[in-house]
Amino acid sequence: MSAEVEQPQIPIVKKKPNCFVGFANLPNQVHRKSIKKGFQFTLMVVGESGLGKSTLINTLFNTSVYPNKEHLEAEEPPKTIKIETITTNLEENGIKLKLNVIDTPGFGDFVNNETSWKPILEEIETRFDLYLEQENKVNRKKIVDERVHACLYFIAPTGHSLKPLDIEFMKRLHHRVNLIPVIAKSDLLTEEEVAGFKARIMEDISYNKIQIYRPPIYENDDPETLQENKEIVLRMPFAVVGCDKEIEMKKKKVRGRQYPWGIIDVDNEDHCDFIKLRQMLIRTHMEELREYTNEVLYENYRSNKLIASGNEFGDGGNPLARFEEEKRAHEAKMTKMEAEMKMVFQQKVQEKKNKLMQSDADLHARHKEMKEKLVNQRRELEETKRQLESGARPGTPEKSRKGKGYFK
């Protein structure tokens, strides 16, 4: 196969049709098709327990994505970070969305949280790998995208600045996922505290060169969109309050939390940034988040991986080649195993052989020695006997009383 097929360089001419041809209809065609096909989104939520992750998700999608968790006191705290995925099918005005929410219970809940980010990064990369594997298959008709399109990171409302754990986590993950930091339970902070806290967080983020997701700016955006996006960026990191229960306020039902000093209304932009978060995450940038994941984050991951494995121009992980490789490895293992077994076997056989030959030799040697002794003794006795019979007085009769000399 030739390495490269050179495309002839063909000049591109600019043409302006004399009348409406209809190309501008394509976005409408795509629009129509997307309604038919429906949408799909995978959202990851990370944060210490008790920061209101489930509540915020339920509030965002105005649905019980999460069933009410039973807080059993006796429950053993988990030893490791778990990865849990919940899939919900939502529909609004006939538009379908399949929403996967990935929860990571246990994050930051241990005494030592040094490697808390690890299982989460692994989860994100495993999902990339899974997609890559599907992409390399011969039959790709049933490809499913389970890549993480956005990660909501919950910052505890300490009012200080980012914790080392927060920084570590964001630094480790920002090249793999669209990070959206949120200040959880911001109703615990006063307006001034929120402002100061946000400023310090943004400082930490830029100091550590952490890349958080920002709405992209395109040159042909209309002024309205530009203004909208600017307002969104200004509110980052979003200070949010989650609440899925409705309370009555001024004869109106609102989603909020009632305190003796007043009611915080989730859907009031003066009270918190919930609206802005929802605006970006769902209403204006959900597809952009998916697009960025596919075109930038995934592509970077993929090309790094291929280059690292020396497969830069290769066939992208041919399963058959992998089989061959495994087969070779297996054969090598078998050969080694056989050689080892043979060596041990031969050694044992030799040892045994030597031992037996030795015993054989010993046996005969000892036999010979004893036989000689006995034969001598007999000869002497016979001599004595002859002398006695001939009447001569024998000398000192030999009283050889050596043991019987049998082999044992």
Binding site: V5, P17, N25, V138, L320, L363, K404, G405
Partner: protein, 383 residues
């Protein structure tokens, strides 16, 4: 299925998609195949309402008779319409069907289509996939001469080859030379022929949630093969309208009049209503088929769990066989040793018996000597 009680924003998702596509623009590649003089160039220029392709010099047209090659000519253009950018690629195939012997004249065309797929495949496998040069053909217009009879053997052969690779759209060129009644009969004969020879032509999706759309889609699908009139000239109709058309002594054949020809339907199919469908069919069906075939030919199969299981089982089997072989060897060797040991024991017993015999002989002698000695001893005085 849970249904939220107030507006979340999911309903905005199609608009977000719309925006993304509008921003990105599109790539569209169209190929025209047909004999010289079929009106390919005129059609292209009419369709895109711009002079996309200069006409060929009359003298040069049949110059290539001796070379007998079908050329592939590529024109690339950037069209902007209402802020929407299209990178348009037009592939022309001059020389097709222009020779006395036209057997295999379609080979370069088919090869070109395959090459575009292969080229994309190679680029797709690379680590860096930015700026992929995509020239996969999204639509291939095949120009049928307005003979009024039926498809020629060459048409059938070429359409068969093309239909299995691209979205093939048959077009009856210069439809203003056939009367309406003749045209209907001609179309029917062509359709019968397509059906009989199992030629794969592009069928636009018809079903839609909207009744009007469904009706329009049905009309488009039913108009195939599209009879077209091409003209870049504006002419004035007897009732005073300025239209694109061809002025005859007996009247004006209007390009954009649905009574006169199927140009509008074809334009809808190609651009206004089914361009996305053409693109996605090319990418999801034709390209995927090509890729799967090619990979299969390269000897690739999917790593499906069953194969994996078989493979693992085979490896385990081999290992077990090796172990068994060794156990067997050890056992034979052991029994050999056991035999040897037994022989040693037997030998020892034999030798012991020998010694014992010798010993008893010695004992017997001793007894005899004692017996011989005892009278002597009895005679000897006691101390």
């Amino acid at each position: 299925m849970s249904s939220p009680n107030n507006f979340i924003g999911i309903a905005n998702l199609p608009n977000q998609r719309h925006k993304i596509v509008s921003r990105k623009g599109a790539h569209f590649t169209i190929m025209v195949v047909g004999e010289s003089g079929a009106g390919k160039t005129t059609f292209i220029n009419t369709l895109f309402a711009a002079l996309m392709r200069e006409y060929q010099n009359e003298e040069k047209r049949f110059q290539k008779q001796l070379e007998r090659t079908v050329e592939i000519e590529i024109i690339r253009a950037e069209i902007e319409e209402k802020g929407f950018n299209v990178q348009l690629t037009i592939i022309d195939t001059p020389g097709f069907g222009d020779y006395v012997n036209n057997s295999d004249c379609w080979v370069p065309i088919v090869e070109f289509i395959d090459e575009q797929h292969l080229n994309y495949m190679k680029q797709e496998r690379k680590a860096n996939r930015r700026n992929i040069d995509d020239m996969r053909v999204h639509a291939c217009l095949y120009f049928i001469q307005p003979t009024g009879h039926t498809l020629k053997p060459l048409d059938i052969e070429v359409m068969k080859q093309l239909g299995s690779r691209v979205n093939l759209i048959p077009v009856i060129s210069k439809a203003d030379t056939i009367t309406r009644a003749d045209l209907t009969a001609f179309k029917n004969r062509i359709l019968d022929c397509i059906k009989f020879h199992n030629i794969n032509v592009f069928c636009p999706p018809i079903q839609s949630d909207d009744e009007d759309t469904t009706r329009r889609n049905t009309a488009i699908a039913n108009a195939m093969p599209y009879a077209v009139i091409g003209s870049e000239q504006d002419v004035v109709t007897p009732d005073g309208r300025r239209v694109k058309g061809r002025q005859y002594l007996w009247g004006v054949a209007e390009v954009e009049n649905e009574e006169h020809c199927d140009f509008k339907k074809l334009r809808n199919l190609l651009i206004r209503t089914h361009m996305d469908s053409l693109i996605s069919t090319t990418e999801e069906v034709h390209y995927e088929d090509y890729r799967a075939n090619r990979l299969t030919k390269e000897g690739r199969t999917d790593d499906d769990p069953q194969v994996r299981k078989l493979f693992d089982a085979k490896m385990k089997e081999e290992e077990d066989a090796l172990r068994k072989r060794f156990t067997e060897q050890v056992r034979t060797e052991e029994s050999k040793f056991r035999k040897w040991e037994q022989e040693l024991i037997d030998e020892r017993d034999r030798l012991n018996k020998d010694l014992e015999a010798e010993h008893s002989a010695v004992q017997a002698l001793k007894a005899e000597i004692e017996a011989l000695k005892s009278p002597v001893q009895a005679r000897s005085p006691r101390k």
